[in-house]
């Protein structure tokens, strides 16, 4: 404690009361003075760099002993202006920006944006079946990889390191599939307005089937490790409680909402991408706590596996079908191919536009330089991301670039529940409560 000038305080900062600082002080005097005033409240700044805050999240906790009396979040450390940047790129280029927002669920960012643009273009019914099935396949694989990270990091934060290592082990398998199908492990920009960027590569379906078979063996390991583990349950049960009324008032969706027993899932209630054709159950739990959210994520991975299997079966019957709309004024023309110098435009396509079709050359040139125009209006197509309702509010003024793209990211909204979930509990439970929300700061700050 010091009554001297605090050198690190900006002018106008706290000067009243006790200010604890270690500037040029002797630690003994600090601890002594803290000991004298132990009954007083202490404000602890947790983060923004802290392994347990899921990226750069800053928590400002007011403590009374070990009890949290007030909890507030400081966000914005990962704000990169993606929405603003999208206004300066074409509609297709926007995909490469929004895929980077919530980096654990890139396909969902792309999908909600692409669905919004397609609605404005009025081509929702023209998107080929194969593109929709591939979207569902990728989104469900992505849901599994995202839930795996949620469970893995959540486990790591409470000391369950094996959960972390096996979680990342399985996630790696999903990322390998992504790499096989899209060429990239993250930031794919694969789902685009009008369809998807590429057809499935040869052998992809076999790899997916192998993965499904392997996951059927591996998923029970999580249940065996955690479900009835007394330490795990002791840390999670009853922590981060939020009932249905609280969830809806604060706008929480996804596993947090479903942990109150309410089966709200946009895949069932407002189906998109043909989700009505798949057989799966909405997973709920009725404890409204962190343990329930963990069990929901675990069960949802089984459901995702079911959907992936059905999508793979449908894709087997769709070999050679188009993956982009037929409209040459919208569909990105070039297919990629691997040549001797790496990946690039396929030689067939170059031959077609340079030697065979003047029209194709014009379409290629116009799309690559100018892009397509989207009729004026606005659209919002929410989808069920691993964290809840993710939606892109897409506004066009009739030009070749988004007039405004705003993403309603579930992490941003759900993180508002930090206070109600952790106030009155222990400091250690703050970590569990936040892990059960599973915020991804890339999505929160955008």
């Amino acid at each position: 404690m010091t009554t001297e000038q605090d050198f690190y305080a900006a002018p106008g900062d706290t000067s009243q009361g006790k200010v604890f600082t270690v500037t040029g002080q002797d630690w003994d005097s600090i601890t002594q003075s803290i000991g004298e005033s132990a009954e007083e409240r202490v404000v602890v700044n947790m983060g923004p760099q802290h392994p347990s805050t899921h990226g750069v999240l800053r928590l400002i906790l007011e403590l009374e002993g070990e009890t949290v009396t007030e909890a507030r979040c400081g966000i914005g450390y990962l704000h990169t202006g993606i929405e603003k940047n999208m206004e300066y790129r074409s509609w297709v280029q926007g995909t490469t920006f929004c895929t980077r927002m919530d980096y654990l669920s890139p396909f969902f960012n792309e999908a909600t944006y692409a669905l919004g643009v397609e609605r404005l273009l009025d081509i929702e019914d023209d998107v080929p079946e194969k593109a929709q099935v591939m979207r569902v396949l990728l989104m469900e694989l992505n849901r599994m990889s995202s839930h795996l990270v949620a469970i893995a990091t959540g486990g790591m934060e409470i000391g369950a390191l094996t959960v972390m290592t096996i979680g990342f082990r399985e996630r790696e398998l999903v990322l390998d599939l992504f790499e096989l199908i899209t060429g990239l492990r993250m930031n794919h920009a694969f789902i685009r307005p009008g369809g998807v960027a590429q057809d499935l590569p040869p052998g992809a379906l076999d790899e997916i089937r192998d993965f499904i078979a392997l996951m059927r063996k591996r998923l029970p390991e999580y249940a065996a490790l955690c479900n009835a583990n007394p330490i795990f349950k002791g840390r999670l049960e009853g922590v981060g409680h939020l009932d249905l009324a609280g969830c809806i008032a604060l706008g929480l969706t996804g596993p947090v909402l479903r942990s109150t027993g309410y089966a709200w899932d946009l895949r069932k209630t407002q189906p998109y991408c043909g989700y009505e054709d798949y057989d799966f159950e909405v997973q709920t739990w009725d404890t409204a706590d962190s343990y329930g959210r963990f069990r929901i994520r675990l069960n949802e991975m089984w459901e995702s596996l079911k959907i992936v299997e059905q999508a793979a079966d449908r894709l087997a019957g769709l070999e050679g079908a188009p993956v982009m709309v037929g409209d040459k004024k919208i569909a990105w023309p070039s297919q990629l191919a691997i040549g001797s110098d790496g990946m690039g435009n396929s030689l067939d396509h170059i031959r077609h536009i340079m030697g065979e079709s003047m029209e194709a050359l014009i379409h290629h040139f116009k799309l690559v330089t100018e892009g397509f125009r989207v009729p004026a209006g606005q659209a919002y197509v929410p989808i069920e991301s691993p964290r809840g309702e993710l939606g892109a509010h897409v506004v066009s003024d009739g030009g070749t670039r988004p007039f405004r793209a705003h993403f309603r990211d579930p992490s941003f909204t759900n993180l508002q529940a930090t206070s109600v979930m952790s106030e009155g509990g222990m400091v250690a439970d703050v970590i569990v409560a936040i892990a059960s929300i599973d915020p991804v700061m890339g999505g929160v700050d955008r």
Binding site: E370, Q378, H393
Partner: protein, 283 residues
Amino acid sequence: MSDKPDEKHAGKAQDESDDKTDKNEAARPAEERNLEKAKSETGTGSGVEQPAPEQSPENLPAPTGEVHAVGERRGMFGVSGTGDTSGYGGLVSAKVFPSPSQKPYGGWFDDVAGALEARLEATDLTSAIESVVVHRGEITFHVRREDLPFVAQMLRDDEALRFELCSGVSGVHYPDDHGRELHAVYHLTSMTHNRLIRVEVTAPDSDPHLPSLVSIYPTLDWHERETYDMFGLIFDGHPALTRVLMPDDWPGHPQRKDYPLGGIPVEYKGGSIPPPDQRRSYN
């Protein structure tokens, strides 16, 4: 391929209107008329960029139920001065958003609009809804800003409406929509009835105030802070309207259209590439 953008644009607009014969048939002639009018007034082929006062967008008629232009698009390549050698520099086309729809709106839209109107009539607030736009299967209620809290309360609480979940507020800045430059767009979900609507409110740049809805939808706490942060919209009644994403001492509101994107030229192999907002681009 035709390289005449004006024809293309008009043709495209017509095609769209033809597509939506079901809902917007009544409003179609007005939209076309306005497009033609905007083009003829500004002199498409004159080559002289000299709009007379009566041609500027603020003087375009915009009463309820009519087409409302929110700006105009000039030229074809987004370059001004000598950069554009295409000969389309004098091209002017109006930016026209979907026009207000007439009843019936179709499906459950009529149920929601009817229930809302009935409740508003009962409280003598019939002018709270400025217009209703049905476009691409989505319904938008344009609400007068002073009546927003009342309408939101009703949308949330009325048994026939029951929009429990608010998906946040998204600001949009239309610098050329004079007198209503700042729009705030709310998406509301009714979980009871499985419906999704959009509520849109506007405020002028000179008076960027909107009533806060945090007391009705607590989830809007951070969303309103973000919209304030990015657009400078002040939500009166918000418990702590501070910046949420940008640093506290940041000057300006970054997502407004008059705020530059920023960036520096990048040099690569002898060439210099300007930042994205200064590149030659299409508009």
